[in-house]
Amino acid sequence: MDADSDVALDILITNVVCVFRTRCHLNLRKIALEGANVIYKRDVGKVLMKLRKPRITATIWSSGKIICTGATSEEEAKFGARRLARSLQKLGFQVIFTDFKVVNVLAVCNMPFEIRLPEFTKNNRPHASYEPELHPAVCYRIKSLRATLQIFSTGSITVTGPNVKAVATAVEQIYPFVFEKFFSQIRNKDMYIRSREQE
């Protein structure tokens, strides 16, 4: 009857964002002309290149910095980044693959029960913030992990953090708080119904 039950929650990673540098100046015009799957945004000064195999979209700047988004795991992100560098090499640039770093991971997780948001906010005052006028979810920040969780009343939770491990830890941390809410509600309901029956 405690909240210690080990529930196998499915944490789905939906997006991994990473950056890397090529340490060489890239001629965006050339990439735009010769790449098969690129969008050239001249007014901003970047090229969007989409790969099919790991489904990722990369933003390429002329300074050589590249941001990769859309991967579904860290390894896939690295794989895609390397592919991208390879294709740039083929185009003729002296590309060096350096400073690869995963910057952001977005994951979604579903609780099998609904969550009472106003009470949840009251109990978790400094970390949680809830503005129903602005956004339907509670925004819970964990400073130590630098992770942010968005908790919806349906029980689905969106987590963003610097890497996959942080995201998993964040979900583990939040679970007891959230479960407590639900459980106490059930317990109250039980007691209420029982008292009614007795009458």
């Binding site: 340490r23 735009a32 002309l33 010769e34 790449g35 098969a36 799957n37 050239y40 001249r42 007014d43 790969l51 195999k53 390894e75 690295k78 794989f79 390397r82 592919r83 560098a85 390879r86 294709s87 090499q89 083929k90 185009l91 590309v95 060096i96 693959f97 350096t98 690869f100 609904e114 009472r116 948001l117 106003p118 906010t121 009251k122 005052r125 400094p126 913030s129 809830y130 503005e131 129903p132 006028e133 602005l134 339907p136 979810a137 919806f152 009343s153 349906t154 029980g155 309901k189 209420y192 119904i193 009614r196």
Partner: protein, 676 residues
């Protein structure tokens, strides 16, 4: 008192009289100090006959008002930046708060929040209006007033989410926990706006009950409180026989019509909606509902499951149909000539084997029906190829409708290519080595393991494709390119005309290195050089300025410079630098544009000594022209020519106020008034 020694006799017994403000030596009687500043309260008789204390109230914030001589041009002069910010903030808070009808206590609290925010430097980099609005909203939340963020954004014409962001940041940084909004707070406000007359109170109570019921039914989590209020009020109004249309309600409550409708539908789904009005007022149902989004989610899940079941059934039905088709096909074949059939069979076997093996090589076994359908379709395809004539087309036409062969072909068209893509990928996956970990040292070398060059080659277009793409891109972005060209043409034209003013994007002000100078004179010189106000400054004058101190104007030491008008300039410059020392620093600022305007005029004025300069002046009312107009007034004696020039300048009405200040500094005040 502290041991002070009398200057005359050396005695140490000094008496301080606070009332008279004197310090007198008791030994010899010499007055040591006169007019000591006293801190006694003085009283002054006012017109009514009563007496009031002399003095000013000085506020806690900031150094307080310094008494400005000459009328105080700007209230914010001479204060440090923090005090200015706070004062501005206070003014804005009062202005905005009065529009929201907040009472004084709330406004004071808001000002305290603002002070805290300023202390934590949260006002930097943000629009003042946003910060003020956030402070006000914070107060509204803590006090529980029925003000929405939407109201504030209405007043300021700012996006409500931008305001919300600032508000959240402020609440977090100041560690203020704003209590959650209760939609019940808004009911009286909206009810009043909807004008229910005498029954206002009853309608409000009903609406409140409805709201509480909604809360129990979990309709309020994650929803805008105003939307719930609107729905509750609408129902309550109807219950009490008031006709309030949806439009009226949404104009008061500020939500969208569809939102209101949705809330009403959700409420309809709850069991409470089944009660009659009387029942509702008396009974309170016990059971609680799930939140509507949760039920919607459950519904979706159920729909999905239903769909899956249905699709399975569909497949079975399709399977049956295809088996019927097969049977028909076989019958038809049997009725056709044998030779062709033999050929067809041969090819059929070969093709079927090929396709099946290639399609389903290493992948899992597909559904039997799909396989059958695929082979069946392939059969048709090859039949068509080889048959060629009308008979085969007949054969194909019979089982399906008229235009089908074309459809089949188009169906099959993409299929083999998609299949081939699929094949190549899967084959490649099996052949290529698994992507191992790249060098952990990260020496920058591109680890090519697992990267297939062939596929990447496909990403690179060849010549013809590149050309086509370039053309496409040009066409797409034609507008942007056109704008760029126009801009360049415009710049070139302006350059020709010589009026090209380069609009550089606003760079942040480059901080100049602090001027290292050993004396004030050097500092002024360097500053003038940097600011490039004029290269014709007479430095000798400046040097003497310093030596004279803040005394009278350096009349004696003015040497005639090369250009007559330059002296004028130096006077002005002196005036500027002098008045800059006053609290009236803006005066100095005003002088500077005058100064800078003059170098332009220098060309016009020329070498002519200004006493004899032609009167270009009359039509030019500008002070620069004053230079020229010194001619007519030649009755002033020569030795005070300098002074005259100053006077003449002062004579111009447009600079009178300015000059008064400037001339006040010199102490020659009497003449100017007579001058004009």
């Amino acid at each position: 008192m502290t041991g002070r020694v009398c200057r005359a006799c050396g005695g140490t017994d000094i008496e301080l009289d606070a009332a008279r403000g004197d310090a007198v030596c008791t030994a010899c009687g010499s007055v040591l100090e006169d007019n000591i500043i006293v801190s006694e309260v003085q009283f002054v008789e006012n017109s009514g006959g009563g007496s009031s204390a002399v003095g000013q109230f000085v506020s806690l914030d900031g150094p307080g008002k310094t008494p400005t001589l000459g009328g105080g041009f700007h209230v914010n002069l001479g204060k440090e930046s923090r005090a200015q910010t706070l004062q501005n903030g206070r003014r804005h808070i009062h202005h905005l708060g009065s529009q929201l009808q907040l009472n004084q206590h709330c406004l004071d609290t808001a000002f305290i929040f603002f002070k805290m925010a300023a202390n934590k430097s949260l006002t930097r980099g943000r629009k003042m209006a946003h910060v003020i609005a956030a402070c006000l909203y914070l107060v509204c939340r803590t006090e529980g007033t029925p003000h929405m963020l939407l109201d504030l954004s209405d007043l300021l014409q700012v996006n409500v989410y931008v305001l919300g962001k600032t508000f959240l940041l402020l609440a977090r940084e100041l560690c203020i926990n704003a209590p959650a909004i209760d939609p019940c707070l808004y009911i009286p406000r909206f009810a009043h706006l909807l004008e229910f007359g005498e029954k206002n109170h009853e309608v409000s109570m009903t609406a409140l009950r409805l709201l509480q019921r909604m809360k129990r039914d979990w309709m309020h989590t994650g929803r805008r409180p105003s939307g719930l209020c609107g729905a509750a009020l609408l129902v309550a109004a109807r219950m009490h026989d008031f006709r309030r249309t949806v439009k009226e309600v949404i104009s008061v409550v500020k939500v969208c019509e569809s939102t209101l409708r949705k809330r009403l539908t959700e409420f309809e789904d709850t069991p409470t909606s089944q009660l009659t009005i009387d029942e509702f007022m008396k009974i309170d149902l016990e059971e609680e509902c799930d939140p509507p989004s949760y039920t919607a989610g459950q519904k979706k899940l159920r729909m999905k499951q239903l769909e899956q079941v249905l699709s399975k059934q569909l497949e079975e039905v399709e399977g049956e149909i295809s088996s019927y088709q097969d049977a028909i096909e076989i019958e038809l074949e049997n009725s056709r000539p044998k030779a062709r059939r033999a050929l067809v069979n041969l090819s059929k076997d070969g093709s079927v084997e090929d396709t099946t093996s290639s399609l389903y090589g290493e992948e899992d076994a597909e559904d039997e029906e799909l396989e059958a359908a695929a082979s069946h379709m392939n059969k048709d395809f090859y039949q068509e190829l080889l048959g060629g004539g009308s008979s085969s087309s007949d054969a194909i036409e019979i089982p399906e409708e008229g235009g089908q062969p074309l459809a089949l072909e188009s169906l099959l068209g993409p299929m083999p290519t998609a299949a081939s893509l699929g094949i190549s990928d899967s084959i490649r996956e099996c052949i290529s080595s698994p992507s191992g970990d790249p060098n952990p040292s990260g020496d920058g070398e591109l680890d090519l393991s697992g990267i297939d060059d062939l596929e990447i080659d496909r990403y690179i277009l060849n010549e013809a494709e590149a050309r086509v793409k370039a053309e496409l891109w040009m066409r797409e972005n034609a507008e942007y390119l056109r704008e760029q060209r126009e801009k360049e043409a415009r710049i070139a034209k302006e350059k020709e005309l010589g009026i090209y003013k380069e609009h550089k994007p606003k760079k942040p002000c480059r901080r100049r290195e602090p001027i290292q100078a050993s004396s004030a004179r050097e500092a002024i010189e360097k500053m003038l050089e940097q600011k490039k106000i004029s290269s014709k400054i007479n430095y000798s004058v400046l040097r003497d300025l310093n030596s004279k101190g803040a005394g009278g104007p350096p009349r004696d030491d003015v040497r005639l410079p090369e250009k007559g008008s330059a002296r004028k300039l130096s006077w002005r410059r002196v005036a500027a630098s002098r008045s800059g020392a006053d609290p009236g620093s803006s005066v100095g600022k005003r002088l500077r544009p005058l100064v800078s305007a003059q170098p332009a005029k220098k060309v016009a004025v020329g070498e002519a000594a200004f006493l004899n300069s032609p009167a270009l002046g009359p039509e030019l009312a500008r002070p620069a022209a004053v230079l020229v107009e010194s001619g007519p007034v030649c009755y002033h004696p020569e030795e005070v020519a300098d002074e005259d020039d100053v006077d003449e300048d002062d004579g111009e009405p447009c600079v009178s106020a300015l000059k008064m200040l400037g001339s006040n500094a010199y102490g020659c005040d009497g003449d100017e008034d007579d001058g004009y």
